[in-house]
Symmetry: C2
Subunit: 344 residues, 2 copies
């Protein structure tokens, strides 16, 4: 066996074919699990692959087959646990489909997003899942369409003509407002931060509509810092206006955690003389004291939905756009209370 230890040269399909006494085409069929090849032959080929330590070369396969078994995922942020959970859902279903995810962080910057998607295209991704950076123009979507690069929008949507997986933020707001109204609250603030995008607008609109439907004067939207450590110190913003709110709904749980601290610092007792509702219902909600009432948005599920949408799109590139909007659910815990003097 004079060639046994030619370690340097990679073992290739032709090597296993020779070893198994079949043609290269047959070996290729075995790999791709084609039913065309007989059980005995298949076994022989697989045996040869094992003996030789053969490893499939996706790169070569993709070159010929024009399919990379690779999907790009672009998120605006990685340090927010919300996105980590989203990613976890995406990764799970992409992995289960035998594909692999290429990850990139746009930092919520459109230029970086452009860079990154270009790079992914060079790497030949079969499609991309993107949570569009704030300020993304429809032109971005058109560009990808022109490139024939399948795309699904996740969490944030730029266009209704492209697949989208998200959650019903507006209905979540409605549930939160309904609940507070049922406890007698008449002036409710909405604390926001971060970039402006569709998910932002949907929540704000939901808040406006819900408060109006209860005859509550709306418009008290207060903007707090992005850094969690600075939010507590901004709690005073809630009380700067003449008509002081008795409750606040937060854009996300990060704000809720921060404001909860700020309220505490001011001597207010959340759940007793001030009510607080979070949004996202991320794991910490259960560990806060009082336990945080929050609108659950199930990021892992949204991620799974997005991945399935992309898989569907790859299977049917020309079908009509699909949207899957996950329902949101108000998870009532302990951070809200009845307004003193009101009859719930």
């Amino acid at each position: 066996m004079p060639f046994e230890d030619k370690k340097k040269s990679r073992v290739t399909l032709i090597d296993v074919a020779r070893r198994a006494n079949v043609s290269r085409a047959t070996a290729s069929l075995v790999i791709r699990k084609s039913p065309l090849v007989g059980a005995e032959t298949r076994a022989r080929v697989e045996e040869a692959m094992r003996e030789l330590g053969y490893v499939y070369n996706m790169g070569a396969a993709r070159l010929r087959a024009e399919r990379s078994h690779t999907v790009g995922v672009i998120v605006p942020n990685l340090t927010n646990p919300f996105f980590a959970e989203l990613l976890s859902g995406i990764e799970a279903v992409i992995d289960a489909a035998g594909m692999v995810v290429i990850l990139a962080n746009s930092g919520d910057l459109v230029e970086r997003q452009n860079m990154v998607v270009r790079r992914m295209r060079e790497h030949g991704v079969d499609g991309v899942i993107v949570c569009p950076a704030a300020g993304t123009e429809p032109a971005f979507l058109h560009q990808l369409a022109e490139w024939d690069l399948p795309l699904v929008q996740v969490l944030r949507q730029i266009s209704g003509e492209v697949d989208y997986a998200g959650a019903d933020y507006a209905d979540g707001m409605r549930q939160a407002v309904d609940y507070l109204a049922s406890l007698g609250h008449r002036t409710i603030a909405f604390a926001v931060h971060g970039p402006i995008h569709s998910a932002y607008h949907e929540r704000v609109e939901g808040f406006r509509e819900a408060t109006q439907s209860h005859g509550i004067d709306s418009g008290r939207i207060v903007r707090v810092p992005n850094q969690i450590g600075e939010i507590a110190a901004a709690a005073h913003l809630l009380f700067d206006e003449a008509e002081r709110p008795t409750a606040v709904i937060c854009f996300n749980d990060v704000i809720a955690l921060g404001l909860s601290a700020g309220l505490y610092d001011r001597g207010l007792k959340v759940g007793e003389n001030f009510s607080l509702i979070g949004f996202d219902d991320v794991t910490d909600a259960e560990a806060m004291r009082p336990r945080l009432t929050s609108v659950s948005t199930a990021p892992v599920t949204i991620g799974e939905n997005a991945a399935r949408l992309l898989l569907g799109r790859l299977a049917d590139p020309t079908g009509p756009p699909r949207r899957v909007v996950n329902e949101t659910i108000l998870h009532v815990r302990q951070s809200c209370g009845v307004v003193p003097g009101s009859e719930p």
Copy 2:
């Protein structure tokens, strides 16, 4: 121009070469920014690329060049914000190096880890950064070495003979114990959960050594649930033994958050009649009340270090193993107090 709208066919290097009146080899040199080609020629080629909408085909390039500009990252978990931050650091430097990360979640399961690394190898990753699943055998590392797949261990280490980026957990424990001892604490618990691995052992050892050096009896290690929502209810475990601790150091901030709630539920005042120290110093620490004193471990930095280590390894595959162990720093906030009746 009879071929202008043959949309289906991809524009390739030979197309731009023709357009620019150069050979394919020259066009290739332009792409790879070789200094061999003159400025005027370069400009002409770049112009042609733009006009034609050329996109580089990494897949084809990699096939020939045996380099994919791709690195695999395997983490045991994605929902823990700690890993999300780690990932963020890795992604940033890999991206800056013009490469791309392929992400996978091992779920802290060695069989999944095996699957995943095999898949990455098929995709031709140039190297991998892995936080080894609990129970990973040295054989795993040997396997990769045999495959000539460059590897850096991150956060957890299986072997000293392979590159590693982590933090000095033991010294972090020492700082925490020293601090508590200086406040007069003589019985200190250590709350742990999760899988057992090197980072676990390093913390436990650090705890043991530090307590012994203060003549404090060690050994009171209490194991709490993995789910954050269940940790609070397990706080009683701290007090089940005869000699009740006056302080607890937590394996991570997740536990600290949970126990903080549990202590509150029992009517204890953290920072006054009970002291609590976290580990990792993740963003929430600042938003807790009282603010959490925690050992900072800087996951983003560790991620950056790991990525740089891998880049270095790709440049020099045969050099001796390198280790970069980030220092840990006790970040003192408000969750610890003097033991009543002691003289600090």
